[in-house]
Every structure is written in structure tokens, then in C-alpha cells.
Symmetry: C2
Subunit: 420 residues, 2 copies
């Protein structure tokens, strides 16, 4: 066994033994740990900023782009936001022990389905140091242990945050190994995590770009909760309120173009397109968005580039929008079925029956009526935070908060029943 293997295996064993303690700890004790972490982040703000400054200096020396430097950078305000997220998660209802269902059988057996933690989560993320606090808080709220692995660019910042987390756990009487950050930049550590660390990892959560998620999904030997793409659609139905459609579509595309909930394709109801499309397109163009349309769309708004087949399945994450005309709800649903990624889709309409049909026909994790696809976010759902947005069909879909990081067991109480 290499030194690295020995080191990472020890992390796995520490997490496994902490997981049992976390599952047994009361909600109050875990809330106490979260409060201590909230306070600790404020108290350690200068130390975290100093560590972050070292990360930034190293990144600049290595030639990192300004956009990535920005992602890596912490400020006093960003540390406050990070602490506030911990406080919000601390205030969430504790999912552990919740009785999800309970019934009695004719033979007197009393059966309860009780929410329990999953066990050991492994979160692999890139150079956003705040994920350290987010993931730790969600793991603690859900009674799990967590092994965190960050991009090497933010290792110093993440270690400073992880120290606050460990102190909070310890001061609340919980094992500090309940949340561990792998402190080596050696990339081979990720490979070991994908292998499950000798059965100590129950769930892998990649949180980052497409290539990271794809690698984890392809190589992992343990279950993965991940989303590959957010190829989101907004559909403007013939019965849309035009002012609402203009505001919602521009927001859905342009509020932030780099998030997975950004709309990538605009679908417009063919019959109403001559009335609806021109003002929406004008707003988008004024906001700096490039449009790529199909023949129908370009016949109405000529200053659009021609879309190719690839455009319907491209997650731009940029101020570019594909535009297609479709025939009613059925046409929109068919386009989404063919090209969508099962993440988030919206319909804009004043026709309640059309909205219901869209909701039923579109099989995505999130289906919105008359609202921006940019609401695809655990915080906006009221979860306090999210570990990610799942486009998988099993276990958890959409934004995954503390509740999504639990499973259940059946508790059956009898009085000596034997099965005939």
C-alpha cells in the first residue's frame, strides 16, 4: 500500500466510524455543531482570507484566468454569505428520524418507514472554496459523515474552512472526522475515492463541470449523484402574456448564463410566433444575447443566425440562445423529449389546461409554469443550500438538500408474531 493509499484509507475508516456517531447524535447536537461553525467562520475570517490570498497568489503565478480567479476568491462578504448558508441549513427541519409513513397490519405488526442518514458521502469539487462549508453543513444536518476533495487550487482556503468545521464538530461533542478534507493535492486520491475506499463510501457527489461529472460517472464503483447537463428550455405558449414572456425569457437566459438552470433553447408556439417572437427577440438582443433560429424563427426575425442540428443539444453556458418554433404543447414536449437533459423546463401561458398538459408531458426534474428556469436552485426551493441538482431518475431528482441526503429503514414492532 502506497503512502497515499494508507493516508486516504485512514480518512475512509475515520469517516465510517464517525458516520455511526453522527447517525446516533440528536438533532440538537448536530444543530449545535452547525451554530459553532457559523460563529467559527466569522471568528476565523482573517485566517481564511490569508489562506485564500496564498491560493490566489499561486493561481496567478500559474497563469489562471480572471474568471477562475474570481471563482476562487473569497472576500469578507463572501465569507459572511458562506456563514449565512450554514445558518440557513442549521435552521432547516432535521430529517433524521422522521417517520415518513406508518401503518399496522391485520396481524398487529406495526410498520414504520423512518428516515436515516445514507452514511458516508464523498464530495469531489473544483476550485470553489465555499463548497467546503456548504457540503459540510448539509452532511451534518442530514446526519452523514463526509469526505471532501477540492481542486488543488483552493486547497489552502478549503483547509482553513475545514479547520473551523472540525472545531465546531469537536466542540459540540461530535467526532471531527465526521467531515474531513483530503489534504493532499495528489490527483491519485480521486481515483481511490472513485473506487469507494474499501467500501467506506456510500455515495459519490461530483460538484463541478461536465468533465468532472462525466469522469466520476464513468469510473465510479459506488453510486453517484450527479447531473451532467442543464439543457433547459423555455416554451412561450400561444396564450402567453407577452409582457410576462419577455421578462421571464430574458431572465431565464441572461440573469446568469453560466448556471445549469439557464435556458439554452427558446421554443415558441408556431401560430402565435409572429406576434410573440419579435418583442422577445428584441429584448434578448438588447441584453446582449446572440440568437440562432430555425427556418420558421428566422422568417419572423431575420437578424438571427441559422441554427444547426447541434444547436438543439448544446449547453452554451454563454449569451447564445437557440430558437425553434413548435406546434403547441405537444410539439414543445416532443422537442424537449428529443433534445432535453431532464433538468428544468418552463412554460409561459395564461391557459391553465395547457400548463397542466405541459407539466404532465414533460418528464424533467423541474417543470415550471410562468417562472424563470433560473429558479432551479436548492436555495430558491427553500432547502437552505444544495449539494447539487440531480438529473438522475433514481433516489433524488432536482435540487438536493439535506433531505435528499437521507435514506430510510423499516422498523417493525410486534408482540411475538411468527409467520405462518
Amino acid at each position: 500500500m502506497s503512502t497515499l493509499e494508507g493516508q486516504v484509507d485512514a480518512v475512509g475508516r475515520g469517516a465510517r466510524s464517525a458516520a455511526a456517531a453522527m447517525a446516533m447524535a440528536s438533532a440538537a447536537v448536530r444543530t449545535d455543531a452547525l451554530s459553532r461553525i457559523f460563529n467559527g467562520l466569522a471568528a476565523a475570517s482573517e485566517a481564511i482570507l490569508a489562506a485564500n490570498a496564498e491560493d490566489i497568489a499561486a493561481a496567478r503565478a500559474g497563469g489562471m484566468s480572471d474568471a477562475l480567479i474570481d471563482r476562487l476568491t473569497l472576500t469578507p462578504a463572501r465569507i459572511r454569505d458562506m456563514a449565512d448558508a450554514v445558518a440557513t441549513i442549521a435552521a432547516q427541519p432535521d430529517p433524521v428520524g422522521e417517520e415518513m409513513a406508518r401503518w399496522t397490519r391485520p396481524n398487529g405488526l406495526d410498520i414504520a418507514r423512518v428516515r436515516v442518514p445514507i452514511g458516508v458521502l464523498a464530495v469531489i469539487f473544483e476550485s470553489r472554496p465555499n463548497v467546503t462549508a456548504d457540503a459540510a453543513a448539509l452532511a451534518i444536518r442530514s446526519g452523514n459523515a463526509a469526505i471532501l476533495r477540492c481542486g488543488s487550487d483552493c486547497l489552502r482556503s478549503s483547509l482553513a474552512i475545514a479547520e473551523v468545521v472540525a472545531a465546531g464538530l469537536r466542540d459540540a461533542g461530535l467526532p471531527p472526522t465526521a467531515v474531513q478534507l483530503i489534504d493532499t493535492p495528489d490527483r491519485a486520491a480521486v481515483g481511490l475515492m472513485l473506487g469507494g475506499l474499501n467500501g467506506t463510501i456510500d455515495l459519490l457527489i461530483p460538484r463541478g463541470g461536465k468533465s468532472l461529472v462525466a469522469r466520476v460517472q464513468a469510473e465510479a464503483k459506488v453510486p453517484v449523484l450527479g447531473h451532467l447537463e442543464g439543457l433547459c428550455h423555455s416554451f412561450v405558449h400561444a396564450a402567453a402574456d407577452i409582457d410576462m414572456a419577455r421578462a421571464v425569457v430574458v431572465n431565464a437566459k441572461m440573469r446568469r448564463v453560466s448556471v445549469c438552470g439557464a435556458t439554452e433553447t427558446l421554443l415558441v408556439d408556431r401560430d402565435a410566433a409572429p406576434r410573440l417572437l419579435p418583442p422577445i427577440a428584441a429584448d434578448l438582443i438588447a441584453a446582449g444575447c446572440a440568437l440562432r433560429g430555425d427556418d420558421g424563427a428566422r422568417a419572423i426575425v431575420p437578424n438571427m443566425a441559422a441554427a444547426t442540428e447541434d444547436d438543439w443539444s448544446t449547453e452554451y453556458l454563454a449569451p447564445i440562445l437557440a430558437v425553434a418554433l413548435v406546434d403547441g404543447v405537444e410539439g414543445a414536449a416532443a422537442h424537449i423529449r428529443r433534445h432535453g437533459s431532464g433538468h428544468t423546463e418552463a412554460i409561459i401561458t395564461e391557459d391553465a389546461a395547457a400548463a397542466d398538459r405541459f407539466v404532465q408531458m414533460v418528464d424533467s426534474a423541474i417543470v415550471l409554469v410562468n417562472a424563470s428556469t433560473q429558479y432551479a436552485d436548492g436555495g430558491e426551493f427553500g432547502f437552505g443550500g444544495e449539494i447539487g441538482i440531480s438529473t438522475a431518475r433514481l433516489h433524488a431528482r432536482g435540487p438536493v438538500g439535506a433531505e435528499g441526503l437521507t435514506t430510510y429503514k423499516y422498523v417493525v414492532r410486534g408482540s411475538g408474531q411468527v409467520r405462518p
Copy 2:
């Protein structure tokens, strides 16, 4: 593309298109299909028995053992049982469309978590023809499409049952391809299913022995719902009622030794073992069970073979029981954590606090108090039937009925909200 590939791919495409229709069909229409299948099984009883007779003759000619012949054999009574299971599943509450949770955000967004089908299930089973009807009924109740693959030994019987299912679907106005049985005995078909049939399979469900489940888990490219082992424990606590302990332990081990819920290891509280173990051991021996004990157990009941380390992790599926003394609830939980498979464990005690501690410390899919581990069964839980018992930690644990074959989506209704 080989002929087989073309054939199996067509099954996948048929299932995918049927899945959309199943998800949109009302509960009443799916219940109607189930009623027609119930009636159809009675009407086709003779044809099914004739097909089964051919399967049996071929199996006998091939030298199949009597135990396996019994598993393969249908009788008028077994066909009635099979039809009754369909009727019970038809009477279950329909899970599709159920609002699991609903809340309103401060900005007015109304968020609902709504139960939806998973999509296309693939069930791979061995030579129990009744699984054809069971799996079909659970798929229809949960709004999924299903692709079934049976052991070649029961292909004729299964095809006769699948014909009844297809007719029931068609007569209810549903696509008959919603449930398809792969009608070739070519083993390569299983390999193609494990590959996911070009993305048409959402969930693979192996239903059969350990080697089948292990192969599916090792080779599948799509999610698997499976259980590998039922290494179940019964723990007789110091405060057990001795009469109850005797009855429950004998039932837990001996009612049927070949089921996954059969107890494989008996744990007895050390301090009370001199009083508790002798009568329980005597009952087991009288019922034909061979005992293999640790040193402590053999000091009390000398006519026990000595257990080796392997015995603690062996799923006998036979009238053999490993017996160990442990120190209280904590000792039992530690033994179970080390050797258990996370399937089903029971405690026998009159001490409610000890029972609660056991329930909290033992992290298995099913934890029973004062009842036989042989209750680990979807029918006994009131699910009408089960597609299997999951020892996985994600998505579904324990007996999986129609509800466990669903997932959810978020439906968000707004009035033009844009995200700030």
C-alpha cells in the same frame, strides 16, 4: 447489428414509447388493465398449464433437479395465487401523481413534489414463471413499462402468461409493448440488457440467486436495484420472554430456510444465555436444525459443532444456524455491523428501552422487534407483492412494491417570477 441485437433493440424502443403512454394513462385505466389480466389468467389457465407441462418435460429431459422442477411447476392453485397477487396489486393505492410535498415560497412560487414513474424497468429473473405476472402487475401499477427476461427453462410458461398481460393492456387501451417478455433463449440478450439497450432502460432489477445479482451488479451500465445477501440475525436479549423467543427464533430459522429473510445467525445475550439458550437450542434441534456455536454457546449447549470465522458471514439457506453470545444490545449491534448484509435483523425483548436502542443502532433495511425475520416480504408489508428486497442504501430499501418503482419531479407554479 446482429439479428439478436436488432430484435432486442426493437423491444427497447417499444418499451420507451410505451413508457410515455403509461405515465400519461390514468390510474383507472391501469387498474382496468390489471383487472383484465386477473380475469385473463383464470381464462387462460389451461393454456398456461399446457405450456408449463412442455417446460417441465424439457427440464426433466435435461436432468433438472426435483427442487428446481418444483420451482418451475405451475398448478391450478399456483395460477390462482398468481392471479390473486395481481388483484392485490390492482387494489393498491396508485402512486402516480401523488403529491408527496407542497409548499409556497415567500416570492409566491408554489412548489410541489409529485410522484412519477421511473420509466422503463428491466427485470431479469430465473425459472419462476409467476414472476412474469408479478413484475408486470407492479410495473403497470407504478406507471412504468417493463422488459422481462426469464430463465430459458420457463420460457414457454412465461410466454403464455405474457400473452395474457399483453391482451389485458391492449383491451384497456394501453400499448401492449408496455410489458414485453424477451422471447429468445439466447443468453447474449442479457448482456445487451446490462448495457441498457441504447439508453432505453432506466433501472435493472435482477430477481434471483446470488450469482445472477452479482453478475448484474458487476456488469450493468445502468442503475441496478438488487440485493446480494440476506444474512439476517435474531438477537435474544436478556429481557426476552422465553416462550416468545423460542417460537420466534424457530420460525425465523426454520419456517422456510431458503428465503432471504431466514435467520442465519442467532445472537444470545451473554449473561442470560445459561437460562435462554438451552430451550431455544432444544427446539431448533428438534425441528431439524444443525447448530454451530462459538465457545460461549458450546459451553452451555455442548452438542453444537464449533463455528469457524466463516460461519458468521455465511448465508446458509439451509437448516443450519450459527450461534454466538454477545454482550447486550451494543454487542449484538457490533456483531451485526461486522458480519451483517444490511437486510433484516430482529431483537426479542420485553425491555422497550433496549428495543429502541437496537432499532437505532442497527442500520439494516428492516429492523424488527419481537417478530420473526421471515416477515421480510413485500406481501407481509402490505405492498401486494414485491419486485425484490433492496439492501442498497439509495432510492429504495427493504421490500420494494409499486411505490418503490416511482421517482418524483418538482412542479413549480408561478405568476411571472424572475430571479433577482
